[in-house]
Symmetry: D2
Subunit: 135 residues, 4 copies
């Protein structure tokens, strides 16, 4: 799928998603997703909340899976998400780059690096279980 096609699919199911996220690029094997800074993302201490970063990583992996496997896997569900928080992100945009490690018939495994001000602030590995393909 192209960026425009993923955006259109999301517009149908999650009309508000563009308030939180912005697809910034799609490469041969990666996708870049931006979470623009807004005050509601802040946690005590002036850092970005962990759940917001997990949502960002999960969504970046989902969009990359859609881009590579097509709209027929729109019902794919997260099977596993493992995230390591490396340093506290500053109150600026967070940029996620998801890279596909393996797109199989049943599982799509990707890694996601989250950057804030050019520092990698978190690293996630995300596995999506794909719906069975119809014969």
């Amino acid at each position: 799928m192209t960026i425009a096609e993923i955006e259109a699919l999301m517009d149908q199911g999650f009309p508000d998603w563009r308030k939180a996220l912005e697809i910034a690029g799609l490469g041969d094997n990666d996708l870049t997703l931006r979470m623009p800074f807004r005050k509601s993302l802040l946690r005590a201490g002036g850092t970005i909340s962990g759940p917001a970063m997990m949502m960002l990583a999960d969504t970046a992996a989902y969009f990359l899976t859609l881009a590579q496997a097509g709209p027929q896997v729109a019902s794919a569900a997260t099977a596993n998400l493992d995230i390591h928080f490396l340093s506290r992100p500053k109150p600026v945009d967070v940029i996620a780059v998801a890279t596909m490690l393996r797109l199989g018939h049943r599982l799509a495994v990707s890694t996601v690096n989250l950057r804030s001000d050019d520092v990698v602030v978190a690293h996630a590995t995300v596995t999506y279980a794909l719906p069975p393909s119809k014969p």
Copy 2:
């Protein structure tokens, strides 16, 4: 810390938290946190959103860490969260039970089982990095 003390600490930093979560019990080595159902938690397909479940697991582990280590670790930050989604939760309350595996000087590791309608729908392992204790 007692349930009331954790609630008071949260009221200071996150005035809205009680709209989303409710501490349902505190045992010798576990804490139960309820996420009452509300429509905004739903994802396409009528299931609870994954990021909401990750937030629930992360918070249950945080509260258990506070309960066992005290308010001096209020600035503890998630170092790692690993979550396995087992089956799609129904549109009802989700109940998280966090159990401490090891409370060390530097890391607190706990597991969290998330139940929906008495089925374990997700299992997480959460590591909090504790702030250095003052001498």
Copy 3:
């Protein structure tokens, strides 16, 4: 499968496995696997080597998957293993208890607690990908 059937299956493929491991119990939803102490398991500092503990966790999850899903999944392969080391095991037997979280058609997810001298020294979550069942 029963303990005896799992043992017989292993004897075929890995004639030496009994030198390292011993199935100590099989319950409705769990399996207990013992790794008897031997000097070759030791690492500098007098503790049991991490890779030996990972092998133990992986094998306990495999045997439990066999017990519940039968010999037709003997070719199941580890898709993911996440292990948290909690404290250094003493130079004694290590006992692994694997508990099934979810046995699906495609994935079997279990947790494994490793105990040394009655202390939980590691906690793992192990996912096996099951071979497609024949129609």
Copy 4:
């Protein structure tokens, strides 16, 4: 530490390690470790055993941590290892490339890609807990 210094440190503690592993390169932020093929690594089906790959990932992360933090962290212990097996490795050498994500005062987090015949067959994230530095 240089490659020669890491090798010398290992020779002291694990005289046999060179039978299993070979440091193939050390870069600014990464280390390459080779596990030469030998028949004892094989599992049923002609693939390399999972525990051997976990040992390789764990050791590559350890050597990289030594390279960057020095011999004073030789007693560092694995706190967490999360590995995703992507495809079955062929019966050839497995090459691990460990890259440091963050070297902190207390934790060193790195990722490790394992390649077999130029295909990424597994991806791991490994956290080492570092010994407290002396004042």
